[in-house]
Amino acid sequence: MNYADSLIYLISSLIAVSAFYIQGQEFIVSMIRGQSVQSVLIAVVAFIIAWEERSYDFIILGALIIILRAFLVNYFLQKRIPKQKSYIYEGKVNLSYLFLVDLIFIVISVFILYSVAFSGIVLHSFLENSGNSGVLVFPLTLFFQGLFLIASRRTTFTQIIGYVEEENSLVLFAMFLLPIPIIIEASVFLDVLALVVISSIVVLEKFTHEPVEELRG
């Protein structure tokens, strides 16, 4: 494993840590900022790969991640946070319990999916030299963290962040495996941004989500 491989593994672990950080937060502003940091870290991975593979596509990809995910998504979400202090805090959440369940869920799901489906996969990027596909564990961790965040929380903001985290994992997954054409990646980014904008409109109307009698059954 050379220095670039080690750096990729190090930053990928930080990305996974950022996902756990978001999971451990009750304050929505902290979660949004955590998502921005996570996106910047993913952009750094893109820049390292760009440097190693001398590829302009990865530079464009990294720049898109910073502009659309780290900056614009953050901007649209922060703009929608109500001024009242009570609204920016997600109550009724037993964080220590959730964190424990999250850890068990992530370890089991990532272990099963990786060993069944991805353990024998050959990476097409320069990471191929590191000899195994272990680096795919990080995007898988991020993906399931995003899903868990959506499933475990009740506020609209947290669920949007869970979705963005899920999308971040897919970008990372594609970067490690084989990056899809940049035009498609850019369209996906714009799609996700539009979805965040649409969701942020719903945020104003409905902040938390509880069962509704009319939607039972």
Partner: protein, 447 residues
Amino acid sequence: MTIGNLLAVLILLIPSSVGIFYRWRIKEASIVAAAIDLALSTIMYYFRPQTGFFFVQNITIIFIMMVLSVHLLSTVYSTRYLRGIENMGIREPTYYLLLNLFTVSMIFSLEVNNYGFMWVGIEATTISSALLLITEKTEASLEATWRYIVLVSAGVAFAFISIILIYYSLGTLSVSVAIASHPHSRIIVLAVSLALIGFGTKVGVFPVHTWLPDAHSEAPSPVSAMFSGVLLPTALYVLYEVYEIEPVQQLYVWFAVISIVAASIFIGYQTRYKRMFAYSTMENMNLALLGLAAGGPLGVTGAILLLISHSFGKAGAFYSSGNVLRFTGKKNIAEINGLGTSMSYTSASLLLSSLAVTGTPPFGTFFGEFLILAEVLSLRMYAQFIIVIIFLATAFISVNYNITGMLFNGKGPHNERDRLMSAISVISSVLPLIIGIFYLVVYIEVL
């Protein structure tokens, strides 16, 4: 640029350009755009683009015409339906703009020759249609909108893993190239299986269907008609295009069968008619999935026949439901009776459409179901055949028992206040019958 490509671009551009009329006559512009688009799609039948950015096969053109027909009906129906809404969540011009963009995103998903862009198109259908759900703003519609956004987006994310794996295995995302390549690898099997969860969320495959009844029941009726009639078939088309790369037949067939069972059980205890029709859509979509997964000329023809007939039948059911809701203000099946005397045209369309969506002969849906089940039998899938037959019968009894109760129990004063709304629901409900009779005549001629 070939004529086919030009037509494909025009079909996307015309509804998109309706936004120019946002401040002035967008309603009329939407109807004109929908009609022109439908006319162009019939011309495109003779000039199908099959290379480059667009890939329109015989089956694609059927889906495109289906989408545009239901779009035209829904646009005309909306002009009257929206008048009665007291608390509108979005402005009327925004509604028409989003309805057009929703159609454009579906057509884009169908026309494009790239799995990546197909995913983008399917995601765009969620973006463009999400706010349409809060046209009638209530606590329930806001919650349904949110569930729709989160569940569908989270589910469709799985499909993107599938797209990445396809690109990893084949080095291309071109639909025409991928289908022709016939690769056999573990990764492709994984990709096709993940697509079932991903795109299956939008199709209404159990257990990732949970957004479907909420969104259908809380959306305004013309939007519910588009969801049931054409959005789900569009997602099914995309899923089928992925399936064609490497048919994982047993997995798809069993998921379809289990989904039919689940939908039929859910139909049985519904107390609201729109929600009941939503589960009926889930049942029909999975039956079509069963046909496509079974394959063969019978399975595929049956699925297409079922989808076309169902799209008009279910649109008719939702337009009729819209009439009932608008003129009675009631959502519960138990609260409604005497429709046969109070709303004669609507009751006719409701009866015809419920018979159509439950596969009654001689509606087109019946022949579709018949062909699909014939293919299932020819593949010696006896267990699947028996399970499906039992639960189709269950759904048939549940839906028609509830609807006939609404129509024939008691009497009520005349309450049909809008002829155009009634006319559209009748036209839409009669079409599956015409399709069925046409198929029967052609079939007898061929024999």
